[in-house]
Symmetry: C2
Subunit: 209 residues, 2 copies
Amino acid sequence: MEKDSKKTREKILNATKKLLAEDGFISFGINSIARTAGVDKVLIYRYFGGLNELMNELFRQSDFWPDLDDLLGDNKPFLQEMSAREISKVILKGRLRELRKRPVTMEIMRWEMIQKNELTDELAREREKQGRMLLELLPKNLEFPEGMDISPAAALIVAGITHLVLRSGKIREFQGVDLESESGWSRIESAIDVLVDAYFSYYEKKKTE
Amino acid sequence: MEKDSKKTREKILNATKKLLAEDGFISFGINSIARTAGVDKVLIYRYFGGLNELMNELFRQSDFWPDLDDLLGDNKPFLQEMSAREISKVILKGRLRELRKRPVTMEIMRWEMIQKNELTDELAREREKQGRMLLELLPKNLEFPEGMDISPAAALIVAGITHLVLRSGKIREFQGVDLESESGWSRIESAIDVLVDAYFSYYEKKKTE
DNA sequence: TTGACATGTCACCGATTGGTGACATTATGC
DNA sequence: GCATAATGTCACCAATCGGTGACATGTCAA
């Protein structure tokens, strides 16, 4: 019998991540964590206090939500020179790409659809914070065509991206688009480009009329 | 002690609908149905066979998924005279409106994000069937600008609509859009119009260049 | 009226859940 | 080396779940 509290904490945290990524919240709980960690469940209470505290620990030590750098990727150096149109495209496609990389985040967001509780609230707060930071980090001189009510259009596209990512893994196809092949996803990325371009052109044209 | 099997069946079905609409699948099961119906759970097994059969019965007797008539609403008489652009707008907005009316459907779709099983498969099949019928019922002479890869763009918008509706009731606001007020939803409807218009104009302009 | 069947009630089963107390074992500081 | 605190093990609790068998009670046809 080995006694090493650090190692045990590690085992618990890893088991939690693994469980969330593979099975989601459906069979998630103290017992299943203890079982897959090969550890008595009483230790979870001793080391973390309970499930909520365990989750908080998890949130603190991993990056569940992409920050601006993640979203921009290779385009980061050119941020100041980009137009509103270009930034919109890059950030939306970044959102798609980065979310797909984070299975645990995906599972938490799926769970948010069903139940609101302290666990999901933690991620929601983090997301909100990052959202505000993102706005502040963007170039101040970005010019959007006047008359644009961007919020609902942006909300629609972001919601669409989110929904498609969350549905992937559960279904093969969504409305004729293959969610299991990279070619399907690049068709979606192209659609994002086209929609953003079309949207901006629409307002710019209106202005000059 | 009253003995009326029809009434008992009714009580069970109603309790099931009520439970799904109010609490979703989170605490859903034989026991909770029996409890809220005020009926012994053994009767559920006797009358329906089990939970799956109960759900099938529910699906058969209610319209969980909007058909073309629902989607078109007042625009139905003018279907043959409408352009692809107009039909796209009407159907997308119809989708938004009709889905919002169906809390049980919303809950099932939420559950589909988490777990795939016989219950959710039933709705998925129904949805697919209606989707095919919808394509057949549309005017045959609809002309889409060439070069358009509509599927992924349509998927994005439909996914966005779905996501926003499913998120409502759980959160107040999504990306700056109020999901609890009618004004928020009409901003979203406007955004659908604009995006569709912009998308079509984009390709039509390209063609004439 | 009586017998048979439909309907409803109740008690139980094994499995699983979150949670805790009591105890055994190991590591660590003195 | 020894006491003490940290760590790990085990057994148990009440509650809930889906599911079933045994039996009581009502209804209806012969």
